[in-house]
Amino acid sequence: MTPVSRAPETGTVEITGLAKAFGAGTVIRSLDLKIAAGEFVVFVGPSGCGKSTLLRLIAGLERADSGSIRISGRDVTREHPARRGIAMVFQSYALYPHMTVAENMGFALRMQGMGRAEIELRVARAAETLQLAELLERRPRALSGGQRQRVAIGRAIVREPDVFLFDEPLSNLDAALRGQMRVEIARLHARLASTMIYVTHDQVEAMTLGTRIVVLNGGAIEQVGAPLELYHRPRNAFVAGFIGAPRMNLLAVRAQHAERDRIEVEFAGRHIGIHGMTSGVPRGASLKLGVRPEHLVVGAGATATALCDAQVALVEQLGGEALIHATAAGGASEALVLKAPGDTAVRAGATIAVAVDPLACHLFDGSGRSLRAS
């Protein structure tokens, strides 16, 4: 399916001052977001953070209390879902059980009053791209989870919407199928070059699929940015902890002194200097030192500075790499997770020296804000 040439604004999404409250439930507090045409934006965040509600607001399945939504340059805030130029793939596929795959996929076009011949053409084309050609006459009951998901996607493709909406589409699939479908969706985006908004709680999907990621928490945007930007330059402890698996270690440290862009902190009796930080941190302030497991090294590395000794509690062997769960010695006794090569000799019960690459360190103040100089 070759990408269709479109007017410049087609596929753009502009949200301004959007707010929505369900009595005591999830609340979207005055949210602003701009999505350019062709982007693959992923809404990610813990459950209950409002990411599905935001998607449903864009879809029109929820009505905003205030603020506006513009799609392809048109204000659709009060518009019926079908007239917003969007299509949605549901978490539970939501296929019509009494219709065949072909009827499911063609239903929306039938509602628009399109001719039978053209519907059949577009359905056949979509089925081709999703390897559903021989399943067209079957009922959903006779399909596997993966096939059903592809029919749900086919149903969206056929409508050639300006924007695709995905509501955690892979959460019901088993791990292997999920990986395969992730690749298919990425390839779909590449081929259609349509704007896609994708909701997931799985940050691996977020990192692999998203051109940009919107991290949501408590109905507000924590940070918006490219995957690697969020990985390397989290604006606060929440984003730092959410992006990257396994989670970033956050160690309680005390600030010693700060010069221009370098802050020296004390952890388990040792002093570590961290560059690229803003100044203005009072002495003795308690901060959080953020280090990703993959940036911790057992023993001493060339560029690493010693951090602390640690008592190993458990080693998780993942084949290509291993996760070492240890507890820092010295006063703090905080939990530490290190990522080590698969063939590491470290065994549970041993005491290891832990070193860290200072350039890969993050510092967060008491309220969780990153101290990195932007």
């Binding site: 369900f22 029109g60 399945l61 929820e62 009505r63 019926h80 879902p81 009951r141």
Partner: protein, 298 residues
């Protein structure tokens, strides 16, 4: 999903509102007023004399009414649970693709088709007469003949058995409910190693609660309004042991022509069944699971 715009909501409810105003309101109000007046069927409606709560006071002293109320409660508390259990049990059995399942499903449903038809009278009397079918059957098991229709206790049993015999309607509703449960839910549970019993307890029953609740409330209401069984088979006898309240109400109105008293009895029955239904609805919050109740405007 729930649509927010009430306007088209009123449109969908319109038939009911018209029906309420045009066809239901007057008879309901009229019968309520009649329950406070002395009106005999042979007089014209204008001669109805207002007598306040006299009928309701008279009930306190009416021995036949006490007997009838007691017998009605016994009838309801025995037949409703038994009928629901049988209907659900057989519905579960019939929910599989077995060869000849269509025949069995029809066989179990046929009796409830008879409803109040006159054929039941002949069939049931023949079945429960002194030398009838049932006594023959229990004879094979060596038990002596039972005086089903002559002994007060057994007469009630035969009337109850008629209601149980007609569990087909409740069964059909359960079948329809079972069809509502998505097959893959059961498949998923079975994959998790759910045995027949866990499947029933964890998946089927919870998802069936809306239908179970409906059947329960409707069976209670219908049991309280049971008329055909006692009217046709035992005429309320012997010794008023099967004189269910609806039968007494019918006789007060059309045999003794005392429409006022019949109306009062009916509104008391209305109150009793109303309380039962209210309790059932109130309790439903704790055990009935509705999967469609998500709030979505449009």
């Amino acid at each position: 999903m729930i649509y927010a715009n009430a306007r088209s909501g009123w449109l969908y409810l319109a038939p009911f509102l018209v029906g309420l105003a045009v066809f239901t309101a007057f008879p309901f109000v009229a019968s309520l007023l009649l329950s406070f007046s002395d009106y005999r069927l042979q007089d014209s409606l204008e001669d109805a004399r207002y007598i306040g709560l006299a009928h309701y006071v008279a009930m306190a002293g009416d021995r036949t009414f006490h007997k009838s109320l007691g017998v009605t409660f016994l009838y309801v508390f025995v037949t409703v649970p038994l009928k629901l259990a049988t209907a659900l049990g057989i519905a579960m059995l019939l929910n599989f693709r077995l060869r000849g399942i269509g025949f069995f499903r029809t066989a179990f449903y046929l009796p409830s088709i008879l409803g109040g038809s006159v054929a039941i009278a002949v069939v049931w009397r023949y079945a429960f007469a002194g030398d009838g079918l049932v006594n023959q059957a229990i004879g094979w098991f060596g038990a002596g003949p039972v005086n089903w229709l002559g002994e007060p206790g057994y007469a009630m049993a035969s009337v109850m058995l008629l209601r149980l015999w007609q569990f087909g309607s409740a069964m059909v509703i359960f079948l329809a409910g079972l069809k509502g449960i998505p097959q893959d839910l059961c498949e998923a549970a079975r994959l998790d190693g759910a045995g027949h019993w866990q499947l029933l307890r964890r998946i089927t029953l919870p998802l069936l609660t809306p239908v179970i609740f409906f059947n329960f409330v409707m069976q209670v209401i219908q049991a309280f309004q049971e008329f055909n069984g006692p009217y046709i088979i035992t005429a309320g006898g012997p010794l008023k042991s099967t004189y269910l309240l609806p039968l007494m109400i019918y006789e007060e109105a059309f045999k003794y022509f005392d429409v006022g008293y019949a109306s009062a009895l009916s509104w008391l029955l209305f109150l009793i069944v109303g309380i039962f239904s209210a309790l059932a609805f109130r309790s439903s919050k704790y055990w009935v699971f509705y999967s469609a109740e998500r709030e979505t405007p449009r």
